[in-house]
């Protein structure tokens, strides 16, 4: 199975969820700033990277984990990808496309915009990390739900 975490810019919430999924970030405590920054692609993507599907790693069951950005497409991104999959006869049931935006708070939005769009990294980055910490266990819960879905899907196969 393949998991695709997506968010607006592919820099913060999707990366956090993917990192929790892969064990790069802990699921039983809030990570430090350094731990966030040590995750690949965290607060790194720029506009030209939007849409690119980045491979993050394999989880403990061999599922592929990816991240991408979808800007304002919202839940329609998954629909667009499924339409493309239908055209070329790819089995979209192999994919779990997860929108992490519902778990993003205002501080993450402000910090992410400031850091990525305005390039005021010294101001935006601490704000987005702080916001990320506030919502951290929501991402942990999201990942637990995704892993449960993966277990069910693998069991059916």
């Amino acid at each position: 199975m393949k998991v695709l975490y997506n968010c607006f810019g592919g820099s913060h919430s999707s990366i956090t969820a993917a990192a929790i999924h892969l064990g790069l970030l802990p699921s039983n405590r809030i990570p430090s700033n350094q731990e966030f920054l040590s995750v690949p692609y965290y607060d790194a993507q720029i506009a030209e990277d939007h849409g690119k599907i980045r491979f993050m790693g394999f989880d403990e069951h061999g599922n592929h984990v990816y991240i991408t950005s979808k800007r304002n497409l919202g839940r329609h991104y998954a629909l667009i990808i499924s339409k493309i999959a239908n055209i070329v006869n790819i089995d979209i049931n192999e994919w779990i496309i997860v929108d992490t935006m519902p778990y993003v708070n205002l501080l993450m939005v402000i910090g992410g915009y400031t850091s990525r769009r305005l390039r005021w990294i010294n101001i935006g980055r601490p704000i987005v990390i702080y916001g990320n910490k506030l919502s951290y266990f929501k991402f942990v819960h999201l990942v637990e739900n995704v892993k449960y879905s993966l277990r069910r899907a693998n069991f059916k196969q």
Binding site: K2, H50, G51, K52, T68, L73, I80, K83, I84
Partner: protein
């Protein structure tokens, strides 16, 4: 090859481009508005307002499949995603030719048509969109010519 014309709300531009590609309309026709309005795929209704709306229009002379797809204006983003998605499945991205028809022109009329669609004035929006496409037909034809040149 699969050719996808990308567009935003209701895909009027993409539908016009697809019609030109398939030779279903002619830019020299004095009744172009009427010709556009008579195309069954020119107007997609409420369904077309939703990003992800995808419709196969037909096959051209070279056997290429022509589609239109509503991507809410995020054409470059979707292009990158499609390329990466296909590569992950070991499919050559060159199988797809993705054409951004929503960047060819945007002005206040475009926004006005979108507002009309949102408010439910579908017939008025459709007529206005057909009129608007006739004003931009040369730009759309240019995009289509660039696509067709790949095969000639």
């Amino acid at each position: 090859m699969i050719i996808i014309y990308l567009d935003s709300h209701c895909c009027f531009r993409a539908a016009t481009a697809a019609a030109l590609h398939l030779g279903k309309i002619s830019i020299n026709n004095p009744n172009l508005i009427s010709e556009l309005l008579h195309l069954d795929f020119f107007y997609s209704g409420k369904e077309g307002l939703v990003p992800g709306y995808c419709k196969k229009i037909g096959n051209d002379h070279w056997g290429n499949e022509i589609y239109i797809l509503n991507v809410a204006g995020e054409a470059q983003l979707i292009k990158r995603s499609i390329h990466d998605f296909l590569r992950l499945h070991n499919i050559d991205p060159k199988v797809f030719l993705i054409v951004d028809s929503c960047s060819c022109h945007k002005n206040k009329l475009d926004i006005f048509i979108y507002i009309l669609l949102r408010l439910g004035f579908y017939e008025l929006a459709k007529i206005l969109a057909a009129y608007y496409q006739t004003k931009q037909i040369l730009k759309i034809q240019k995009i289509v010519n660039e696509v067709i040149q790949e095969f000639e």
